[in-house]
């Protein structure tokens, strides 16, 4: 029987750490999740985001810090007593049970009366639009349908918090977009909190109210999708958020910003945080624009056609590599001039 209630204000992680022997998989992660909030844990593979999720679920013991649900401390409780819902990366559906029995599992362990179980499973089936598949075994379903069963099984117990561990990573591109919308729809409809682990920044940006970027077991930034996209807090996050162009550069103070030099070309940039005499400059490929009089001169090495635009790699005279997007056709061997708006040239402490 779950000891935590659905009515809660917030889940707090206070300096949660997890070591595996000498390896610090998770270091001092602090996060508050409000009721109804959708938070994504985003990071490259092996960054500790799944470890964090397993610690919240109770599948892993924390080796430091505390997890609170309002005034109740959770980290000493087993997973059985936390009453959360969890969607696993490989769905972890019980292969010997029908869809109906899979979804009803959590209600049966709660010793709910039979008619209630039937009613609530029916509701969950309707929510994930699987009414016609109730008597099938998971092995008879497609990947997307299995995914829906996994979600239904997690939410049918009306958990205060739903944990999702890269739930879309096993689906093909089209289904992934569909399920993304579905997850958002279900989240909004139920009003539960969701913590969602992913390595796909697009997924995190489109789903989450807030994103926690984790690199090497540590929180590197917590913010809204807009903040993370437009203004990463540091160079590591910038790199992960798609700032493909990263350069080391000396800095010079200038009016309205800071002057940096990239392969000999001088650009005005915006400092993020305190920046010394030497800095890391980050520019997103979409922010480098083709213009006839741009300060950066480069030679296109190759260009990929992406339908809406071209994605190109160019090299400057001194060998500096640049990535940019262009609406106009560019071809290998073409000489181009590029420019970036000062607000889109982010300068970080080296």
């Amino acid at each position: 029987m779950a000891v935590v209630s659905r009515d809660f204000r917030e889940l707090r992680l206070e300096q949660v750490s997890r070591d595996f022997g000498q390896l610090h998989a998770l270091r001092d992660v602090t996060l508050t999740v409000q009721r109804g909030e959708f938070v994504a844990l985003l990071g490259p593979s092996g960054c500790g985001k799944s470890t964090a999720l397993n610690c919240i679920a109770g599948l892993l013991q924390v080796t430091g810090g505390a997890i609170w649900l309002d005034e109740q401390r959770l980290d000493a409780l087993g997973p059985e007593d936390r009453g959360f819902g969890m969607v696993f990366q490989n769905y972890a559906l019980f292969p010997h049970m029908t869809v109906r029995r899979n979804i009803g599992f959590g209600l049966v362990t709660q010793r709910r009366p039979k008619p209630e179980i039937t009613r609530r499973v029916d509701e969950a089936l309707a929510l994930v639009r699987l009414e016609t598949q109730a008597e099938k075994l998971p092995g008879q379903l497609s990947g997307g349908q299995q995914q829906r069963v996994a979600i239904a099984r997690a939410i049918v117990v009306e958990p205060p918090l739903v944990l999702m561990d890269e739930p879309l990573s096993n689906l093909d591109a089209k289904l992934r977009l569909e399920m993304r919308a579905e997850i958002r729809r279900i989240h909004t409809m139920l009003g539960c909190s969701t913590i969602y682990v992913t390595h796909d920044q697009e997924e995190a940006l489109s789903l989450a109210d807030r994103i926690l970027v984790m690199i090497e077991g540590q929180t590197r930034q917590i913010g809204t999708p807009e903040e993370l996209y437009a203004r990463p807090a540091n160079a590591d996050v910038a790199e992960f958020m798609g700032y493909r162009n990263l350069f080391s550069s000396p800095t010079e103070a200038a009016d309205g910003g800071l002057t940096v030099s990239i392969g000999g070309a001088r650009l005005v940039g915006t400092p993020v945080g305190a920046v010394g005499a030497f800095a890391t400059v980050a520019i997103r490929p979409d922010d480098l624009r083709l213009t006839g009089d741009g300060p950066i001169a480069a030679m296109v090495e190759f260009a990929e056609y992406h339908g809406r635009d071209f994605y190109a790699v160019a090299r400057m005279a001194d060998g500096t590599e640049l990535y940019f997007r262009s609406d106009a056709r560019v071809a290998a061997g073409e000489a181009v001039r590029l420019r970036a708006a000062p607000s889109r040239v982010l300068v970080y402490a080296a």
């Binding site: 599948l59 059985e80 696993f88 490989n90 559906l93 019980f94 292969p95 010997h96 362990t109 092995g139």
Partner: protein, 294 residues
Amino acid sequence: MSAARLPLHRRLREYGLDSVTLLVIPGVLFVLALFFYPFLYGLMLSFQPKAGGWLANYTKFFSDPFLYDTIRITLVMAVPVTVLNVVLSVPVALRVRLMRHQRLLTTILVIPITLGTVMVAEGLLTYLGPRGWLNRTLLEFGLVDSPVRLVHNYWGVMLSLIITGFPFTFLLTLSYVTGIDPALEQAGAVLGARPRERFRRILLPLLAPGLAITLALAFVQAFTVFPSAILLGAPAGPTRVISVIAYQAAFEQYDYSLASAIAMLMAAVQLVIISLLLAARSLVFRGPASTGKG
């Protein structure tokens, strides 16, 4: 328009028959020559008794309690041992699955298999005998007044069958247990199921088909017990198992026909038990013990 007919060898290949299939022929010949022929020969031989009609051996077996009682004796020996070995294997395998030095432990457990029953029997005779270490220790500490009888009776054979049978059931069970996706148990735990309930509702149903196979193989092994029944048991009384009377018929009375009949009855009992196990197996879920494409 009708589809063009493929050449014969292409059509055969659709059914998995091609030149590679021919490689199976030596194996088939081997099985025919070394299993089917002797089996059929024995079956025929059992219907040609030394005296009486063609069923005389079977009538003799079922009218002589000294003979037919061996089925009961052997079952009383083999069934508990089989069940015990499998029941012990499951929790041990569930623990070992999570261990880091799994290979070391499995190696240690495999040793009794490689030693062979005779060596284990010899060891047990000296260790458990009236003047063995165990009894000497028990007497020394005053825990018993007279030596505990553990050899030359039912318990001696029982122990030997556990020692040689357990590693076998354990290794089989371990392979079935490790085939179950650990995420299934985790999912059960997050959904509120405690360990006992997770075992009953998730692990056990997924293990059941494998356990049926393990039971069948372990049963055959125990039912055909011979060396330890002779060495550690009381082959004239409580451990007069069916293979002992088959041996006596063949090599003490030189009645190969009766021995063949006994062997056939032995096979029949095994067949019945295995059929029951496999029938029970078909009632439970059989499929991969994991889902998804991860």
